[in-house]
């Protein structure tokens, strides 16, 4: 009552119903109120801005790499600096951007609201996760002034135990970042188990939660193995105990096994949340219930479990036995089944739907295209015969950029555009948002399709110099990078300018049916001014939602004439 009254009485005549003047953003004020907040929404927002910042840092490294590769010889940096650039590009993008990206930023914001809960199960752990992330990030970047790092983001031994660059700070940072990841995943698993509202069974949950749940399993079960691996690497470097050092009787291939036992599942920490975001947006913008809800839900779990059994495909040429190679190859193929299930279900959802080409949907379409290419090219690498030819070439680089960067980051940006009105209560410029998304997609494909081609021609990765015959491909790739850069700058500008000039957002601008669209935009501090209506079925039904052109959003007909949250409270009085 009181809060609704304040909203109306604040004189914000341009604000649509469902927009909240008093919300989690201005609930309390001051720097300290943010850095010590236990509010999952604020932690999510802080994570999001940090991740976007690191994304631009990682993108800067990438742009320098691509610029260097314009000609076969030294252009702007020498080979040593080149090695450091690709190391920092990879490490920053993997550990500071893609791994935490969707779970820690978007899911942190949206997951408790989707459950109608007030917060995640462990708010303090959530804040600890963010601060560990900051400490880890600063430690990793501090290595830039401690001699840099040139091992590649994989820290392979024995090079990483013998190079003179700053391995220990970066590895320690990755260890700390692992804790941040574990805390996030653990929090989400418990929240989904224990804070679901009465009436919301597992199969009434939004598919986003299934994806995040599966991600949480991997974060909790795989990250500790990375932790011990990195710890052993640090011990090896500092004390020379010989666990990985062949000169002392250790086994460097054991490091690779440990590393990929984590890092292959980790690519599912990257892609499962991306798929989860896509599973929300596809039905919303197709105005149609999702096709095969249970298949999508179970396929997330299947990917999480299969993902633990395929790490050996990174060591087909590292002296692994032929039997092991065959098993790993077969299992790798099997992971493509649940992934394909998802893609087919999204396409079936879109089929005969009334697709709305809003900005988030452009990212979705780009994602499906890019993920399909990324997934299919993975089969060439999972196949033993072709992998012997393709390993350590640009084909691998293009493949994992299609899956890790293309798919995950497109979904991340799609999710940012999707939930932006909910987070900040502002609508952005649809036209420029769409243009930005399209340019990024064009630039991305222009960057990496040439790399597939030159990789299949045998061009090795991770070299500052190359044979002149590859120059056209490198130049096309570099042009693509700059196109992508322009696209991301447009996207960033669209988002930032919306904060100042954007129309205030209604509660439900897209007509989505999950619970977070039932609270105001932005949500109040406690997430719901009044209890949300929990669906008794899968959440993707849109019959009760009706477009209101005056509002610029959708109204919920179940609320009997009260157009949006807040108003029902008024009616009750």
């Amino acid at each position: 009552m009181a809060s609704t009254g304040m909203r109306v009485g604040s004189g914000a005549t341009d604000a649509p119903v469902g927009y909240a003047e008093n919300n989690f953003l201005n609930h309390t004020k001051g720097f300290a109120s943010w850095i010590w907040t236990l509010d999952h929404k604020r932690i999510g927002v802080m994570y999001m801005w940090s991740i976007i910042l690191f994304f631009f840092a990682g993108g800067l490294f990438a742009t320098m790499l691509r610029t260097e590769l314009w000609t076969p010889k030294d252009d702007i940096v020498g080979p040593d600096l080149y090695n450091q650039l690709f190391t920092y590009h990879g490490a920053v993008m993997v550990f500071l951007v893609i791994l935490p990206g969707i779970p820690a930023a978007l899911a942190n914001f949206v997951l408790p609201i989707m459950l109608g809960a007030k917060d995640v199960a462990f708010p303090k752990l959530n804040l600890a996760s963010y601060w560990l992330f900051v400490v880890g990030a600063l430690l990793a970047l501090s290595s830039l002034v401690q001699g840099g790092l040139d091992t590649g983001w994989t820290f392979y031994t024995p090079y990483s135990t013998s190079t003179n660059t700053a391995v220990v700070p970066v590895v320690t940072a990755a260890f700390i970042l692992g804790f941040a990841n574990i805390f996030t995943g653990l929090n989400f698993i418990v929240t989904i188990h224990k804070l679901r509202p009465p009436g919301m069974g597992w199969f009434n949950m939004p598919l986003f939660l299934w994806g995040i749940y599966a991600t949480g399993i991997i974060q909790v079960l795989a990250t500790p193995v990375l932790g011990i691996t990195l710890l052993l690497l640090i011990i090896e470097r500092v004390f020379h105990v010989g666990i990985f050092d062949p000169a002392l009787g250790g086994d460097p291939v054991l490091f690779q096994h440990f590393f990929w036992f984590y890092s292959h599942p980790a690519v599912y920490i990257m892609i499962l949340p991306a798929m989860a975001v896509i599973s929300e947006m596809v039905p919303t913008f197709s105005r149609k219930p999702i096709f095969g809800y249970r298949f999508i839900a179970y396929s997330s779990i299947a990917i999480a479990l299969f993902g633990f059994l395929v790490w050996g495909h990174h060591m087909f040429v590292a002296g692994q036995s032929a039997l092991m190679n065959m098993i790993m190859s077969a299992l790798t193929y099997s992971v493509s089944i649940p992934s394909a299930v998802k893609v087919f279900n999204w396409l079936a959802t879109m089929w005969k739907g009334s697709i709305q080409y809003r900005t988030p949907m452009i990212w979705v379409l780009g994602f499906i295209w890019i993920f399909a290419i990324g997934g299919l090219t993975g089969l060439f690498l999972g196949s033993l015969g072709t992998d012997v030819h393709l390993h350590e070439t640009y084909f691998v680089v293009a493949h994992f950029h299609y899956t890790m960067m293309g798919s995950t980051f497109l979904a991340f940006f799609g999710g940012v555009f999707y939930w932006w009105p909910k987070m900040f209560g502002r609508m952005y410029d649809e036209k420029w948002g769409t243009i930005g998304a399209l340019i990024v997609n064009i630039g991305f494909n222009a960057t990496f399709i040439p790399q597939f081609i030159m990789g299949s021609h045998g061009s090795p990765r991770r070299y500052a110099h190359y044979l002149p015959e590859y120059q056209p491909f490198h130049q096309a790739s570099t042009v693509g990078t700059y196109i992508m850069l322009v696209g991301f700058i447009i996207c960033g500008w669209v988002l930032i300018s919306s904060l100042y000039r954007g129309r205030k957002a209604p509660a439900n601008p897209w007509g989505a049916s999950t619970l977070e669209w039932q609270c105001t935009s932005p949500p109040p501090y406690n997430n719901f001014d009044e209890p949300p209506i929990v669906p008794e079925d899968e959440p993707y039904h849109y019959d009760h939602l009706e477009w209101d052109p005056e509002l610029g959003g959708y109204i919920d007909k179940r609320r009997e004439g009260s157009p949006a949250p807040g108003a029902a409270v008024e009616a009750a009085h």
């Binding site: 009552m1 809060s3 609930h27 408790p112 109608g116 809960a117 007030k118 917060d119 199960a121 462990f122 708010p123 574990i182 653990l186 929090n187 698993i189 418990v190 929240t191 188990h193 224990k194 804070l195 509202p197 009465p198 009436g199 909790v220 079960l221 500790p224 193995v225 011990i228 691996t229 052993l232 011990i235 090896e236 004390f239 020379h240 105990v241 010989g242 666990i243 050092d245 062949p246 000169a247 002392l248 009787g249 250790g250 086994d251 291939v253 054991l254 440990f258 590292a318 002296g319 501090y525 406690n526 719901f528 001014d529 009044e530 209890p531 949300p532 929990v534 409270v569 009750a572 009085h573």
Partner: protein, 344 residues
């Protein structure tokens, strides 16, 4: 804001499970985002179990490394484990088991509201934990003193009591023959010699280095040349089926000797890369020791709060959580002890 929600939730009479009533659960222990103490406790417990799962996987990596190295080089483990003191390891196992029991009992005492009993049991648990670390310290300093250290720090040498720990120099004469197949007779001979050697034979540290260092360098060269031990064609790889009978000391004799000599008694041909065992030993027990220290801090904290009377039969979550953690620390040791100390 939150106050306002409370007001209008009550005022408007909404009776929904997920409303914003701050009304129910007036317990001061209930956090604002939970509905009931039961829900909060269930969440805490699930979170703790997940955390314990991460701990198991953290150590899982080490157990995996242990399996790989022992599977590839059983002779190293059989040889080197004799330098561990079974008595101290056994006592530590008993100490930890006792502490697990006392902390579990203290949880029960909290549930029943028996505060002084609970505090007493926590104190005993703490004493056990310190006892464990004390014994660990004794064991570590023994290893340190004798140069039984991981990796490049491995430099076994004569102890201060004039004991000879590695019979490398003594067995040097038939080194070449023994390297390929250490026969049972040889082991027996070495062991017998060793028994005599204790009083009569004293080999200088310098001699000893001369015999071991080339072995290490040699193995390093072979390890670099081929993927170590994973390669079945490696001519230096030793068939495990041949190792077991040879490396295990003959029944009776060796056991008798060891009883005489304590942990340092048995003399055998020293295999290559013994430092690997000590790397595994120190990393595993070291990481476990770090967990014991963390457990001591946690137990100390709940002890302080228990003395202040924070925990009641209706809410004792931290005691329960710390106890669970302590059990996992105990459980890991239960695996470490036989795997490191009781090898045949």
């Amino acid at each position: 804001m939150s106050l306002m929600h409370g007001e209008h939730a009550h005022g408007s009479g909404h009776d929904h499970e997920h409303g914003h009533e701050h009304g129910h659960g007036h317990s001061p222990y209930l956090e604002h985002h939970f509905e009931t103490l039961g829900q909060q406790f269930e969440s805490d417990k699930l979170g703790m179990w997940l955390f314990l799962a991460t701990e198991i996987l953290l150590f899982g990596g080490l157990f995996c490394a242990y399996s790989v190295y022992r599977g590839n080089h059983p002779e190293i483990f059989v040889y080197a484990h004799q330098y561990l003191n079974k008595m101290w390891g056994g006592i530590n196992t008993v100490v930890l088991l006792l502490s697990s029991f006392t902390i579990a009992w203290s949880v029960r005492a909290t549930q029943l509201g028996q505060r002084s009993l609970q505090i007493g049991l926590l104190v005993i648990t703490l004493l056990c934990a310190f006892g464990f670390l004390g014994i660990k310290y004794v064991e570590y300093s023994e290893k340190w003193k004798h140069g039984l250290l991981p990796g490049k720090h491995y430099q076994p040498h004569v102890g201060s009591h004039g004991e000879e720990h590695a019979a490398g120099a003594e067995a040097g004469a038939d080194h070449a023959a023994a390297a390929t197949s250490a026969g049972g007779e040889h082991t027996a001979a070495a062991t017998t010699d060793a028994a005599a050697a204790d009083s009569t034979l004293s080999v200088t540290a310098g001699d000893h280095h001369a015999s071991t260092d080339p072995a290490i360098a040699d193995s390093a060269a072979s390890a670099v040349a081929a993927v170590p031990a994973a390669d079945p064609n490696d001519p230096l790889a030793i068939d495990p089926s041949k190792i077991a009978p040879a490396a295990a000391p003959p029944a009776g004799l060796a056991r008798e000797v060891r009883q005489h000599e304590g942990e340092h008694g048995v003399m055998m041909e020293e295999p290559k890369n013994v430092q690997t065992f000590f790397a595994v030993y120190f990393v595993m027990t070291g990481l476990h020791g770090v967990h014991v220290v963390a457990g001591i801090i946690a137990i100390f904290v709940i002890l302080i709060y228990s003395m202040r009377g924070l925990y009641k039969p209706e809410w004792f979550t931290p005691v329960d959580m710390v106890a669970l953690y302590w059990h996992i620390v105990d459980l890991i040791w239960i695996f470490l002890f036989p795997l490191l100390y009781l090898i045949h």
